[in-house]
Amino acid sequence: MAAPEEPKFDEMHAPDGSVRPAYRGYVQWLSEQDDGAMRRKNFEAESFFRKTGITFNVYGEDDAEERLIPFDMVPRIITAAEWRRLSRGIEQRVRALNAFMHDLYHRQEIIRSGRLPERLFRNNAAWLPQMVGFTPPGGVYTHITGIDLVRTGPDDFLVLEDNARTPSGVSYMLENRETMMAMFPELFSTVNVRPVSDYPRRLAKSLAACAPEGAPDKPNIAVLTPGIYNSAYYEHAFLADQMGAELVEGSDLRVVDGQVQMRTTVGFRPVHVLYRRVDDDFLDPLTFNPASVLGIPGIMDVYRAGRITIANAPGTGVADDKAIYSFMPDIVEFYTGERALLPNVDTWRCADPDSLKYVLANLEQLVVKEVHGSGGYGMLIGPTSSKKEIAAFRAKLEANPDNYIAQPTLALSTCPIFTKSGLSPRHVDLRPYVLCSPDGVDITPGGLTRVALKKGSLVVNSSQGGGTKDSWVLDD
């Protein structure tokens, strides 16, 4: 995707060339470094990742079972004041998301009030009738949320997407920091960066606080992975390891005596909280996809009997749909009584005939996304697409307009990456990770910054060749 014409926000430098406050400490330190040594560090980082096996799997590629996500060693930096503002907006959004989920599966006030069209969830594959009338332990639906943010100006952070199912990438947030601290220890003694390393501990604490009634004070937590060939397996193992939780596969679990239990060397032992990293569809072959071998037969019955916590709750996917996304400002207002602190990106719902007309007339300037698509697949990026591609997409759009939304191509902010010829700006986004429990909303300072590695490109997805950066939130 080519950058649009209008000026974009440079995270490091102001238009007059001066260094923005967030980067002053870093740029000062950088100016004292030897160029050759920095170039060597760049190689060091890759071998570090390769050695520790921090890889992700790419589907549909023969030769590349495991790949590295490129890491860039220039951090993305956010000031304490910026972060405070962002945190308030994120917390408000996550609270609204949970209230919304509860409402959708109970009284549906938002539908009755006419603020949200009923068909939006009636036609939504992620809607689970099994969840109707059921309240998860602690009333929490989205135990872990990833909110994708983009920035277009000094005070303009926009939400691009809510990831309410099983947001991934948090292991990169942690490993990026480890790598930076290993390579540049002295940098961290000169710049005051808020730590992220206690995320796994906070995750364990937050999950434990959501344990079902009757669970012991120290509930058994397990991470459910589809197995070593899943694209995010490394992350699953990493989180289980860091939390001191068991990493389980479906075949390790069984419903015994009305409880989900794991097969250990001393027999079956109960699991009280299951942080699942498999989709709803594969969770319970008795309730959902009968062909699935990844899940646990009968777990939904145990769940509905209130004897296990599943994180995130089944059926949360209904809230991170791109059609729902376009209603998020209304949803936030409806449940919090306040205006949304973090705005959405302008979005045209193609289901609406007037919007569709506009979108069809302006395809060359717009990004059109499938409502249920993810990871940058199934989308049209108008400005960089050929006439032929646009024509083909137009046909799809006309055939099934309900399935699409459109957004303007945004002037995403840039942050420099380290290249052979020095620093060079590239577009970035940011995914902070948010934990939710009856004890409160807990946002890790920072998150995962994804960066487009090609000059001018706006595509930051790791599955499409994007890279990542360490993300710093400065302390006051």
């Binding site: 050695k51 096996g53 070593i228 193992a237 390790d252 794991m262 097969r263 060397t265």
Partner: protein, 314 residues
């Protein structure tokens, strides 16, 4: 710990041990061929394949016993699921699947070892590089073992790791001994000939035992004293008695941790009866081959009982 993970750890260490022993055997075979005429070299290579249990698979691929072919088959052939490369890969797959049960040091040792050997074995190994490659295989296995010793908690994970190592090692030692004694010598009339003593030397080398043996048995090279050494010497880390002492220790610890004994402990006691307080005369009275066959079967039974007792599979 999860039964699946216990299984993964047990087999991860078996694969590592087997990869290492395979390299030792190949090293010994190669060395022997260097000191022989080419027609007997064929016999040596054939004996290496027989000991590894790969003769049939090899012959399905090749119709000669050229050293380069044998080495390629044993080290890296896609037609050989028991190749060193394949075992190192399987060890790494198990390590990934049990990633949260092993330390970062063990994981890195195995992951880096796999990367090194994958590159080293990406192409056929030339004879001039064979010792280098075999040395690398031994070294990577040693590093993984060292990381295990130096970084892992002495908990049940460690017990399963050690059980995997020692059951595999005991199996290897007994097979090597059996193949030499039972299969290799054309007839009894060859006992004591250079062919016979050469083969015994090969056996000792493939277990990295030749120096220790010579040091303890200066000038003697006969079935009786070698069997005594490889089966009954408590000091030699690849002897059956040594492996079983270590296995017993880890089984005892598992029983202590779990508060109960199982079928595996029964098997262990039966094995102890067969092994402990035995003299080499007792062994030969029973018949060395019969003794080894019984031992190998008991070893398999023990591994099976461990898998059942500790719920390796559902």
């Amino acid at each position: 710990m999860l039964g699946r993970v216990a299984n993964g750890i047990f087999w991860m260490y078996r694969y590592l041990e087997r990869a290492e022993n395979t390299a030792r055997l190949l090293e010994a075979g190669h060395r022997m061929t260097l000191t022989r005429r080419s027609d007997t070299a064929v016999q040596e290579w054939r004996s290496v394949l027989t000991t590894l249990g790969l003769r049939r698979a090899y012959e399905a691929t090749y119709d000669d016993y050229a050293g380069a072919h044998v080495c390629d088959f044993v080290l890296r052939s896609k037609n050989n699921p028991e190749s060193v490369l394949s075992m190192v890969e399987r060890a790494r797959i198990n390590a990934r699947a049990c990633r949260s049960a092993i330390t970062l040091e063990v994981w890195e040792a195995i992951n880096e070892g796999w990367m090194t050997l994958r590159d080293l074995l990406a192409r056929p190994v030339r004879e001039s590089n064979l010792n280098l490659a075999l040395g690398a295989i031994r070294r990577e296995s040693t590093l993984a073992r060292g990381a295990t010793h130096g970084s892992m908690l002495r908990n049940e994970t460690y017990c399963f790791a050690r059980l995997g190592t020692f059951l595999e090692r005991a199996d290897n030692t007994s097979r090597i001994l059996d193949v030499k004694y039972y299969l290799l010598l054309p007839s009894l009339s060859y006992v004591g000939t250079p062919l016979d003593t050469g083969q015994w030397d090969n056996v000792l080398r493939s277990l990295s035992a030749e120096r220790a043996y010579r040091w303890l048995n200066a000038g003697r090279m006969d079935a009786r004293s070698i069997a005594d050494f490889l089966i009954l010497d408590k000091r030699f880390p690849r002897s059956l008695v040594f492996c079983y002492a270590a296995a017993r220790e880890n089984l005892t610890e598992l029983a202590r941790l779990h508060g109960a004994e199982g079928q595996a402990h029964e098997c262990m006691r039966a094995a102890d009866l067969r092994l402990n307080d035995k003299t080499v005369e007792d062994v030969f009275e029973q018949g060395l081959h019969e003794f080894l066959i019984q031992f190998i079967a008991g070893n398999q039974e023990l591994a099976g009982a461990i898998a059942t007792d500790y719920r390796f599979v559902s």
